[in-house]
Structure formats: C-alpha cells, structure tokens
C-alpha cells in the first residue's frame, strides 16, 4: 500500500534520511524504531508531505504522493502527533471534527461522527463540549487518535504518540490502539524509540540509525537474526532490563 523509493532528505550538508526504501502492505503496522536523530520522524513526515523529500518518492497505492495535492493527501491520512497538538481554542468535539469541517461535512453529520469516534476511543460523548485543557494527557491523546481517525482514513501515521505519557496510561492506550487498529483494519506507520512498544505493537519493525534503514523484519526475525551489532544491542535491551529487574528482585528476596 505504501512504498518509499530511495527517500532522501538533506538539510544543507547533513543527510537526515538516506536513500530509504521500504514498503508497508495493506493492513500492516510497521514500526520505525530508532534513537532520536535517526531520521524516523522525518521519514514519517515525508509520507504525508509535511516535509518534502530532497529526492526519492513515496507511492501510496501505486500513486506518487508528490503528484497529489498535499492538503487533500493529508486529509486522507490520519496523523497522530508526538505533542498531541489539540487546538486550544476549539472544543474537543471541534478538534475531532476538524478534518471533517475541511472536507465540508455538515454539522449534524459531523456531530454524529464525533460521538462515534469518542465511543471508539472509550471516552464519554459529553467530552465533545469540553476544552482540551480540561483533559488529562491520556485523554488528550485519545482525542488526538480520534481526530486522526475522523475521516475514516485507511492509512495512519503516528509519531511517538504515547511517548509523553506515564507507563500505565501508555499501556492502556497501546491496548486501545491495537483494538481500534484490528477493528478498522488500518494500515499504519508507527514511530517510536521504545523497544517494548515496538515489540508489542508492530507487525514488522524497521530499525533506523543515522538516517539509514539498518534492518526491517518481524520482531522474531530481528531478535533471531540481527543484521549488525546495533540491532543486536537494541533487541537485547528489554532482556537486559528484565535481567536487571530480576536480579534486583532476587537480591531483595535474599
């Protein structure tokens, strides 16, 4: 469904994304995993042209995204922001319906859709009339997800959507997201630097390092056959951490 071919972004002398080619199948969730500065967010933003590539191209259903109207393209792709990005001067309902308004939906139809979406993200319908500032971080990002889903996109882009949340909230939102994703059969690219999140959420994981795609494959493939030391170390992180926790618990037990 999505394919990138030799996607490259340069700012002056520095290359942020370097000839990145990958493809995401219909209904698949690809996680882009990497440290900050590895180019994963830039890659994501080039898919819906928030950032224009220096060279290379993005194909969506075989169509070159560079030839499409960027605004229409973005309205068809759900985007969940790292910093949530709810508009503080709009109510929750208006935030969720913002893309629908851009698409020219009338207010009754939009209101019905907002109610549906709030239910989907497990929030009460009364939230529609509240201000974003009255919501907790977790609730805000549920709204962020609802907003991205408003126009029933087949493709979702998520930029470290749960990165700023506390672990328990993050866990609940991950579960909600997985359910929604299955229910709606979404195709998605999900950017994160959290190894555990990548393993829990991703059908496949693409590891990025210094602007290059180091390895791409299922979690099992990456764990079993890491392409290089970097990937091996990365994949071992959860195990190392678990060992640390175990050791700590054993020490306490003695």
């Amino acid at each position: 469904m999505i394919e990138t071919q030799g996607l490259t972004k340069q700012y002056g002398q520095s290359t942020v994304v370097d000839h990145l080619s990958l493809s995401v199948a219909e209904g698949e969730l690809l996680v882009l995993l990497g440290a900050s500065g590895s180019g994963k967010t830039t890659t994501l933003k080039m898919v819906n042209r928030l950032i224009e590539p220096t060279s290379g191209r993005v194909l969506i259903d075989g169509e070159d995204a560079g030839t499409l109207d960027p605004h229409e393209l973005r309205r068809k792709i759900g985007y969940v922001f790292q910093r949530i990005g709810l508009f503080p001067h709009m109510t929750v309902g208006e935030n969720v319906a913002v893309t629908l308004t851009l698409l020219g939906w009338d207010s009754t139809r939009a209101a019905a859709r907002v109610a549906e979406l709030l239910e989907l993200v497990e929030l009460d319908a009364s939230f529609a009339h509240r201000q974003p500032s009255e919501l907790s971080g977790g609730q805000q990002q549920r709204i962020g997800v609802a907003r991205a889903l408003a126009a029933s996109p087949r493709l979702m882009l998520l930029d470290e959507p749960f990165g700023a949340l506390d672990p328990l909230t993050r866990d609940r939102l991950q579960q909600s997201f997985l359910r929604i994703r299955r229910q709606l059969k979404l195709t998605a690219i999900f950017v994160t630097h959290d190894m555990v999140e990548a393993l829990v959420i991703g059908d496949r994981i693409g590891v990025m390092h210094d602007g290059r795609l180091v390895q791409i494959g299922t979690p099992a493939e990456l764990l079993q056959f890491p392409a290089d030391d970097y990937v091996r170390q990365l994949m071992n992180t959860p195990k190392r951490q678990a060992a640390l926790v175990d050791g700590f618990l054993e020490a306490r037990a003695k």
Binding site: N48, L50, H71, E72, L73, R74, R75, K76, Y79, F81, R83, G85, L86, F87, P88, H89, V98, T99, L102, R147
Partner: protein, 509 residues
C-alpha cells in the same frame, strides 16, 4: 460650567469620529500588514522600523506636518483629514507589532498540527493562527485605542474639532473648568473604548455568542453614530456656510465670535467657527477655502508672508501695501482694520524696568547679557525677532520658548525677565507689566485686519458688507478690556463677543 457642558456633545462626537475612524483605518492596515510580515520575515525589520520612527515623532508635530503635506498634494489640509491621517499613522505600531508578535510566537506544534490535519495555508491562518494570536493582537489594539483617544486631543490646532478644543481654549483663556471637562471627557472615553475592546477579547475567548453579539452591537452602534454624524456634517458643509477661523489665543477667539455673530445677524448665513488654528495654518486655510474669514495682523503678512524687512515702516503704508499684495497675489480681500494694533512687543515687570531704568529697547541692550527672555511658540522663529535682535544687537543670557499663558506667569513671578507680549494683551495691565518702546521701529505695525478668502469675496458680497460694519469699531483699550474679561475674569469668549455685539448693533452705524 454649564456653558462648557453644552459644547460636550459636539466635541465628543467629533472626537469619537476621529478616534474610531483612525483606529479602523489603523487596524485595517496593521493587521493584514502584520500577517504578511509574520509570513515574510524579511520584511519585519524594515516595516517595524518605519512604524517605530513614526511613533517617535512627537504627536503634535506629526499632526502639524500633515497640514503642509496635504496642502502640497492639493488636498484639504486642515480639519478632519490631517488629524485623521496623523492619528491613523500613530495607531499603526502597537497593532502591527502585536500582530507580528502574536503570529510569529505561536507554538510550532500548533502550526504542524494544522498542516497535518490537511489545512491549506489560508485555513491555517484563519482557523488556527489568527484565533490563537487574537489575545495578543487585541492587546495591541487596546494600546492603540488609549493612545489615539489621548492624541486626538491634539487635533485642535490642525483645525479638527475634538475634546482638545476644551483643553487648548481653556489653557489660553485660563478657564480651568474647560480644561477639566476636556481631560475628564477624554479619559472617560478612553476607558470606555478600552473596556469595549477588552470585552471583545473576553467574548471571543469565551466563545459564547451572547456577549460577543452585545460587544459587536455596541461597537456597530458607535461606528454607525460616528458615520451618520460625520456624513451629516459633510452635507451640512454646503456652499452656503461661512467658516470663520481663529488662531490660538484669546483675542482671536473673541474676534471670531464677534465676526460670526455679526455675519449671522446681518445675513442669516449659517456660520461655523474653526478655532485654535496655528498661525500659518490659518492663512493657508484661507487660501485653500477651508476657512472663509479670519483676523490677521498686517505685520504678520508683511514679515512672514511678504518677507519684507521689518524695520522703519509706517502703519498706514504697511496696511495699504499688504492689502494690495493680498488682492493681487492671492485674491484675498483685506476688508479693513478693526481699529487697533496688536503688535509684538517686549515687556517686563514695572518694578524691574524701573530699577534697570529701561524704557526703550535701546536701554535694554547693556542689561540683556544678564537677563532671560521668554517667547511664545513662534516668536523666536519669526522675522520680527531677528529684526529686533539685529537692529539693537540684543544678546540675552537665556532664551526660552513657552506657552503664552505660562510665560506671563513666569515674568510676573520673576522667573523670566523679558517676554514677547502682545500689545493688546489684558495681562499687561493685570500683571503690571510695561511695554518697552521699540525706539528704532524694528517691529512692523500690527493692525488687526479682517481677511476674506477668494470664494466668499466672490460669492457673498452681503457677508463682506456685514464684516465691513466691524471696521474701526474696536480700539486697543477695548480689545485689552475684552481680553482681560476672558483671561482674568473667567468670562467665555462667546459671552464677551455677545456683549460687544449688543453694545454695537448694526443700526447704530
């Protein structure tokens, strides 16, 4: 006090018109300009620099500059237009700066979110950037509002009616009631308009419909009122109306009221008085037809406009030559002298004049290096001063330009030794000053003469005839007494003028 309050509706309406229209024009320029600058950041420095420079021009000067500027463009150079343009320029900076700051200070995450949900550049602007920057933009508008209301009081000297008429006339005629009414009214107006803009911000922020409608309705009503009264004022300015001008001092206020009263009574024409015009503004306004008649002094035309040497000329000769010059060069009719001279003269307290044995300016020369001299706003820039200085070789220790009414107080309390007085000023008698004789006739004669502009001269011979009935009717003594009645006894110029007209009905001639 009630006399003053009777003027309030007219002054307040005019003030409101100036303020509201200037703010509307200022916002209409500044907000779009701010939006453009916030997008094209290269423009930010140069545009804000220009706006800041305009802001640093003293407000009175900015308004005054508009008069010759508009005259050079062949446009109406006194009255509403110069004041409106000056105020508009002044209102620009706070709104512009805040619009730029408000827009460029937005959280980049908001902009990215707006793009990410699929907004076009315009949708981003209208749906996200402007609403989010609105509190900052409105704060700029509030600053501009308060400034504009205050600075609009300085519109009076360029011939636009405003609450400043109270303040300028009140300071000149030492009518503190008038000054007070003007200050309080403009302060209240500033608070009310500021409150409305603040309420507008609150209503926009709360996003509730009722308060927003209430605020917008109030603003719409104020604008509708200003617009309707403004248009009615323009319509009223028919060809039929006679406009009498007055410069910024007591004598001129009294004389303009006398002329207005006489014209009205004799011809039934509708008459308007435009008061507190700057000295050269008045002559320019007469030439451009914005005023029809005013009282000028022969020596002023002689020295300032004809640029003739001041020294050694006689009164009748000057009057005749000035009359011929005005008719030939400008189509202006010198109707005649009122009967008194109001010359620039040097004056000092009797006590000091006696102790220094100064009776003539020649006597003053040896003492001058130890004395200070005060002059009104124009004196030291006028040819008369140059002539006095050069004919006698006067060199004072200190030279100060002051407000005329303060200048008299300063000389009476010995804070200044010599002042530039007017020979008909009632305060010369009241404060026991003596006029120092101009023994070398360095200062030309200053017969008070009625000047009639080309249009009135052509179209209304009846008005010119009515004005002729005033020639030779006011002696220097009487003028001094009338000035004193205003300056010292607190009578209004209008009342003094009425009293004069009652005592000399036309039929008596």
């Amino acid at each position: 006090m009630s006399e003053q309050l009777a003027l309030l509706p007219a002054y307040l309406t005019a003030h409101l018109q100036l303020t509201l229209f200037a703010l509307l024009a200022g916002s209409a320029f500044s907000i779009p300009a701010g939006i453009v600058i916030a997008r094209a950041r290269r423009l930010e420095r140069p545009v804000l620099a220009v706006a800041s420079v305009i802001q640093t021009i003293p407000s009175l000067a900015l308004l005054a500059i508009m008069v010759p500027a508009l005259a050079a463009l062949g446009m109406r150079s006194i009255g509403f237009l110069p004041a409106f343009i000056g105020l508009t320029l002044y209102s620009v900076l706070p709104i512009l700066r805040n619009t730029v700051t408000g827009l460029s200070g937005l959280d980049p995450a908001m902009i990215e979110a707006a793009r990410g949900v699929g907004m076009t550049r315009n949708q981003q602007l209208w749906r996200v950037e402007i609403p989010l920057a609105m509190p900052v933009i409105l704060a700029g508008l509030r600053t501009s509002t308060v400034w504009t209301v205050g600075i609009a009081t300085l519109s009076t000297p360029v011939g636009a009616t405003s609450l400043g008429n109270y303040i300028f006339a009140g300071l000149q005629t030492r009518n503190l009631n008038a000054v007070l009414v003007g200050c309080i009214a403009s302060a209240v107006l500033a608070l009310v308009l500021d409150g409305l803009v603040r309420a507008l911000g609150g209503a926009l922020l709360s996003r509730r419909r009722a308060p927003l409608i209430a605020v917008l309705a109030s603003l719409a009503m104020l604008y509708a009122y200003s617009g309707v009264t403004f248009v009615r004022g323009l319509r009223g300015a028919s060809a039929d109306r006679v406009v009498v001008g007055a410069k910024t001092f007591t004598e001129q206020y009294i004389l303009s009221d006398i002329m207005a009263g006489r014209i009205g009574a004799a011809t039934g024409a509708s008459v308007e008085v435009v008061s507190s015009l700057g000295s050269t503004v008045a002559f320019d306004a007469l030439l451009s037809g914005e005023i029809d008649v005013y009282v000028e002094y022969s020596g002023t035309i002689w020295a300032t406009i004809m640029k003739r040497a001041s020294a050694g000329v006689d009164r009748a000769g000057v009057l005749e030559e000035v009359g011929r010059f005005l008719a030939d060069e400008h189509g202006v009719e010198l109707v005649g002298g009122l009967g008194f001279e109001n010359a620039y003269a040097l004056a000092m307290t009797r006590r000091q004049a006696e102790s220094l044995r100064v009776g003539r300016i020649s006597d003053l020369v040896p003492h001058a290096p130890r004395l200070s001299i005060g002059g009104d706003y124009e004196f030291f820039d006028r040819a008369e001063w140059a002539s006095v200085r050069d004919s006698y070789g006067l060199a004072f220790a200190e030279k100060r330009t002051m407000d005329p009414s303060l200048m008299y107080q300063a000389v009476a309390s010995n804070q200044i030794d010599v002042i530039s007085a007017f020979s008909t000023d009632g305060r010369i008698v009241a404060l026991d000053l003596v006029v120092i004789e101009d023994d070398r006739r360095a200062i030309p004669p200053y017969d008070a003469v009625i000047l009639v502009g080309p249009r009135l001269r052509r179209e209304r011979p009846d008005v010119v005839a009515a004005l002729k009935t005033l020639t030779g009717t006011i002696g220097a003594d009487q003028m001094r007494r009338m000035n004193l009645a205003v300056d010292q006894d607190g009578a209004t110029p209008a009342a003094v003028a009425q009293e004069f007209l009652r005592s000399r009905p036309i039929s008596e001639r």
